[in-house]
């Protein structure tokens, strides 16, 4: 039985949240992980998710929103099913990160933080993702793709479009 009646999350996620609220010396520490897992399940951090997480951690909704707005990976609006995040920071920039970004923009027909009409893809220009020695690099959701070329990007996007992409959760 979940700690919260009528949880908006799946039974698996609700069980995970029950546990998360107990493992830290202070309950509130579970906030950032909970927001991430909530987003993984719903696609973004919805108003209902904010309210349930606040309840689970004995916080005000405002406390949750205050933290939510700080972290760049957390969003309050849906992204595409596959969120393409292209790094353009220095190591990637020197090896063609901007060409990769421009290629994705043209290929998907969307700009920074936009979603394709069918909701399949969204695009983001992101800061350093820690793949500097395998640049240029991007992430699709949590999955890394390194040593990119425009040809490689086409194949990767094709894979996701046809449901063959990895989807690390």
């Amino acid at each position: 039985m979940s700690a919260i009646a009528n949880s908006i999350f799946s039974p698996e996620a609700a069980a995970r949240f029950d546990k998360l609220a107990t493992i830290y010396p202070v309950k509130r520490s579970a906030l950032v992980p909970m927001l991430l897992y909530a987003q993984d399940e719903i696609g973004y951090v919805s108003e209902a998710a904010i309210q349930e997480i606040a309840k689970r951690l004995d916080l005000f909704d405002l406390d949750v929103r205050n933290v939510l707005s700080y972290y760049s990976m957390l969003r309050t609006k849906p992204a595409g099913k596959y969120n393409v995040q292209v790094c353009t920071n220095i190591s990637c920039m020197l090896r063609g990160g901007y060409e990769i970004l421009d290629h994705c923009k043209a290929k998907l027909g969307i700009g920074h933080k936009q979603v394709t009409a069918d909701g399949q893809f969204s695009l983001e220009e992101v800061e350093c993702i820690g793949a500097c020695c395998w640049a240029p690099a991007m992430q699709v959701n949590y999955d890394f793709h390194d040593d990119l070329t425009t040809i490689k990007v086409d194949a990767i996007l094709q894979d996701y479009a046809e449901g063959r992409g990895k989807d690390v959760k």
Partner: protein
């Protein structure tokens, strides 16, 4: 997935188990894993700290503080619980070494965390990875679960009555600032990652107000190796006051980018020209950002310097996080400087005004220069702004933005001026909007 590289010039300590499937606990045990922590339990805290002091290991996150000394600052007796916090929030542009440690040798981080816990008398450690490293969190989570199943974590570890140690793992959610130790503690407490004023230092008042040791993931991963080989033997691999080896991520315009393990004090020139195979496509070297993007740039004439904290300091820059970014002759320093400050402007948490306003105005000013509307006074203004950010913020992010900016405008002043003269009516390489990103 990272591509592996090796070179005969490497001195292998940390990379010992890479490429052998050591994320699997059985393989790790076969390769002498979890022996150091058992020795640490047998010998006790004073022995651990003395070995660490003798090793000359200095913090691999960038500040280079001696690890043994840091551990010795934690009070022996404390009313509040003590904690070990592993900083795997690797975010400094140009740095990807912890990425490979978590992938290839997660147990070394776990074992190092336990040893740090034994040294300071803590029973709980946290391993905090950056949010983008979800697939690595899963690898670390599995490694922790396997260690629990073996009785290496939990109550009475290794069958020793009264010796308890637990580890909690989690990720952040995208914030460079959280790599700073006090902001990291705030984040772990479920708050916005804004820095705390120091003193008090974390060793006295840290996580949940308890004494806390915070070490970079690479620092922690080095610890079991040091206990196994002995502090003096490790120290001897490096230079005076800079013990051992470290991981250098060489990226940018080199033939063989990759994460290489080199002894402290190794020549920067050799690292670029021999280890990483020289400049890509036989082009000429223009500049090097030697330790992550916050380190002042070195020109092509300044690379005859040893890669340790002291020699790099003398050369007017920093060893930083070991991320060596190499720029060939085709790079526009104006464009590069704008990209660097755009990052810091994006990541400034806004808590300290000199950093929030300084990064924003430098970005705006350099953006104008880049777009072709700059004046020579703009370059003076950038320098003035950067100089006035230095040392005026709670955490080092303000300095991290100001230092490279000062390096660019001082060492490449002529390039900025020529750019301003030549681009008055010209077209920049990309539009400012393209480079800086709308609302990015």
């Amino acid at each position: 997935m990272p591509t592996f590289v090796s070179h005969p010039e490497e001195v292998i300590v940390l990379k010992k188990r890479w490429g052998q499937g050591a994320a699997d606990i059985e393989k790790y045990l076969e390769l002498d894993g979890y022996k150091a922590v058992q020795e640490a339990i047998a010998q006790g805290p004073e022995w651990i700290v003395s070995v660490m002091k003798a090793s000359g290991l200095r913090g691999r996150g960038g500040a280079g503080f001696p690890t043994g000394m840091k551990w010795s600052f934690v009070p022996k007796v404390s009313e509040k619980p003590k904690y070990v916090l592993v900083n795997g929030d690797e975010s400094e542009p140009g740095t990807c070494k912890d990425h490979v440690i978590f992938l290839e040798d997660p147990h070394s981080v776990i074992e190092g965390t336990m040893i740090a816990g034994l040294a300071i008398g803590s029973k709980l450690g946290f391993i905090y990875l950056r949010g983008e490293y979800r697939y690595l969190l899963k690898i670390v989570e599995k490694a922790v679960a396997d260690a629990y199943a073996k009785g290496f974590l939990g109550k009475n570890i290794f069958g020793k009555e009264g010796v308890d140690f637990d580890i909690i793992t989690q990720t952040g959610a995208g914030a460079y600032e959280v790599g700073e130790e006090s902001a990291l503690m705030e984040s772990l407490e479920g708050k916005r990652g804004v820095p705390r004023i120091k003193p008090p230092f974390p060793a006295i008042v840290g996580l949940y107000g308890g004494p806390t040791v915070i070490n970079n993931a690479e620092t922690i991963a080095s610890v079991p190796h040091i206990l196994m080989m002995g502090g003096e033997a490790y120290a001897k691999l490096g230079t005076e006051r800079n013990g051992g080896t470290r991981l250098f991520g060489i990226s940018g315009h080199v033939e063989r980018p990759g994460v290489y393990e080199l002894p402290m004090g190794y020549s920067l020139r050799k690292a670029i020209y021999e280890v990483a195979g020289g400049i890509k496509g036989g082009k000429k070297l223009k500049a090097v950002v030697p330790g992550g993007s916050s380190c002042p740039v070195l020109t092509a004439d300044e690379i005859d310097v040893g890669l340790d904290f002291d020699q790099m300091g003398k050369a007017g820059t920093m060893l930083g996080s070991g991320g060596i970014v190499v720029l060939d002759e085709t790079v526009s320093i104006v464009e590069f400087a704008l990209r660097v400050i755009s990052f810091y402007q994006h990541e400034s948490c806004g808590w300290c005004i000199p950093c929030r306003e300084g990064t924003d105005w430098i970005k705006k000013t350099l953006g104008r220069v880049y777009a072709g509307g700059g004046t020579k006074k703009d370059v003076d203004n950038v320098q003035y702004l950067a100089e006035n950010m230095m040392g005026r913020t709670f955490c080092p992010l303000g300095d991290a933005a100001a230092m490279p900016t000062l390096g660019f405008v001082k060492k490449f002043r002529k390039e900025f001026e020529d750019y301003i003269d030549g681009h008055k009516a010209g077209t920049p390489i990309m539009t400012e909007q393209q480079l800086v990103g709308a609302g990015h």
